[in-house]
Symmetry: C2
């Protein structure tokens, strides 16, 4: 699951299951040009072939039967017109369709973004864009597009910093809300930032309090989140241990900031339902032991990639 390949296979399989896929069986990148397949060689460019009478767009074939054309590496004239690119792309799409390809991915640098308008006339739409590159896609297979989507969620993290010596927790009131309710300091994860790191950073930025990550307490999923540009939102609340206690809160962002008794936060109406719920959870943990409410985190190595991931689940008895 969760990889482009698997996901594409998954979406492909929804209706194609048990119908032989057009994908090549090998995972090797293949080079597709002028209707012929030949193995990719390390040329570094998907050259806009020339000297054959007519130029033709070339792309790389993936093992799922999709073709990727990267305009940063085609040697296209930087001032190519929408009309000229549209003609090139129309020829390419016709060729790939005849070859039974299921999709075309088109990557373009922002300086060639006019090519997106030309692609749109052939049915391409934006898949995603970031910084100085956009990726468009066109589904050629049967039925509706079954291409995998782009990242669908923003991740917000809040930190519940509990002072166990007095049963108090660090809370803020946002400055720019109509309802000034107590809540845990928090904010959006930056790309590549671990959940716990977001919680610690946001707590420090909003309140001046330094802390360390202990566990994950709750997960909330909400769709069509306001301010998320149409994306969904996962909001995670972590339990943190305070390393400093003195409050020096951000007056631009917060109206108030205080250490509030958990029992008070659990019963006050001057809070959000989710904060109230987590306050009860924390009170329960404080009274019965944190093992009752925590999801501890472990960092583990990924099987093949050499990367590491963070895994959260209920504690297990020692094996």
């Amino acid at each position: 699951m969760a990889s482009y390949g698997c996901q594409l296979f998954s979406v492909l399989s929804r209706r194609l299951c048990r119908v032989r896929c057009t994908a090549a069986p090998s995972a090797r990148a293949l080079r597709l040009s002028a209707g012929r397949l030949h193995p990719a060689v390390g040329q570094g460019t998907d050259a806009l072939t020339g000297g054959h009478g007519t130029d033709a767009l070339t792309g790389r074939l993936d093992r799922f039967g999709g073709v990727t054309v990267d305009l940063a590496h085609t040697g296209l004239p930087p001032d190519i017109s929408e009309g000229d690119f549209g003609s090139l792309l129309r020829e390419g799409v016709g060729r790939w369709r005849a070859e039974g390809r299921v999709a075309v991915w088109l990557r373009l640098p922002i300086s060639l973004s006019r090519c997106a308008a030309a692609a749109a006339t052939l049915g391409f739409t934006f898949h995603h864009a970031r910084a100085d590159q956009a990726t468009l896609a066109l589904w050629l297979g049967p039925g509706a597009s079954r291409l995998p989507g782009y990242a669908s969620h923003q991740v917000g993290v809040a930190g519940a910093v509990v002072d166990e010596s007095n049963g108090k927790v660090l809370v803020v009131q946002d400055k720019n809300k109509t309802l000034n309710a107590w809540k845990f300091p928090g904010g959006l994860s930056e790309l590549g930032e671990n959940i716990g790191a977001t919680a610690v950073r946001e707590v420090q930025e909003e309140t001046g309090v330094c802390s360390e990550f202990l566990s994950l307490l709750s997960v909330r999923q909400q769709h069509d989140q306001p301010g998320a540009f149409g994306a969904s939102d996962l909001y995670l609340i972590c339990r943190l241990r305070p390393l400093t206690y003195s409050i020096d809160f951000c007056t631009e962002e917060c109206l108030r900031c205080d250490w509030l008794p958990l029992a008070e936060l659990a019963r006050t109406e001057e809070t959000t339902p989710i904060t109230s719920r987590v306050a009860r959870l924390l009170l329960h943990g404080l009274e019965r032991g944190w093992g009752a409410v925590d999801l501890p985190m472990e960092t583990l190595p990924a099987v093949h990639s050499g990367r590491f991931y963070q895994l959260y689940h209920r504690g297990l008895p020692l094996a």
Copy 2:
């Protein structure tokens, strides 16, 4: 947290904290034109003003001091050249900079994507793009850009379908992996799909088994996920109850599919570390009661929006 406003305030506040923000205090949309601010009126367009000697781009001011220009509603000529748009935008950016605006958001329909190239020459970059629209942004405030990012995570969900009558769990082996390891069926969430719904759908698509959602078991975060177009990945494993037991697995996607004893899955090496871990967790739950491992889900109403969200955390004693 987690809304554009809060996030922007949060990022703004990182270095601007205690420095008076340029944002207007009111949340009312304001219309910005020709260097003057006047309240937005319901014209439905951010008109490209004419008849004043020179045309000028107009945009809406947000309460954080950013300006949004939506090219779908400016009345721009559909064939406006990159050069002409670049001149218009250069004038606008100069004006907004002089007015102390902190950012410019530029929304453009794919048919006007050539305007992105013109914007890039002024320092704009893609913020995100989807379907037939791209959004670019330019930071005008002090220091590095502090604009909120777009959705950073794809969400993959797997379903552990446990047959409590015999202690077996439903597992598959992916067809297209070098390592054919047993794992739980799963796949990527579609935009707007609840976690539990993804698990149930993917299990049915891959194995033919119908099931219902019971609880969340584990959360894994991994960055720079292969196949995620540079995004991070949250991989959630849910516990499901089988409603049917007969396997009719997708032969395009899966090599094998079986009901395996949990005890066997927990000790075999023919699996992934995370599957093995969750198998032990499930075994523990089967033996000690599911309360030991589950994060139950509740659907709750959001405070203001009329929407609902799903909240997952450890069970609480009845109040």
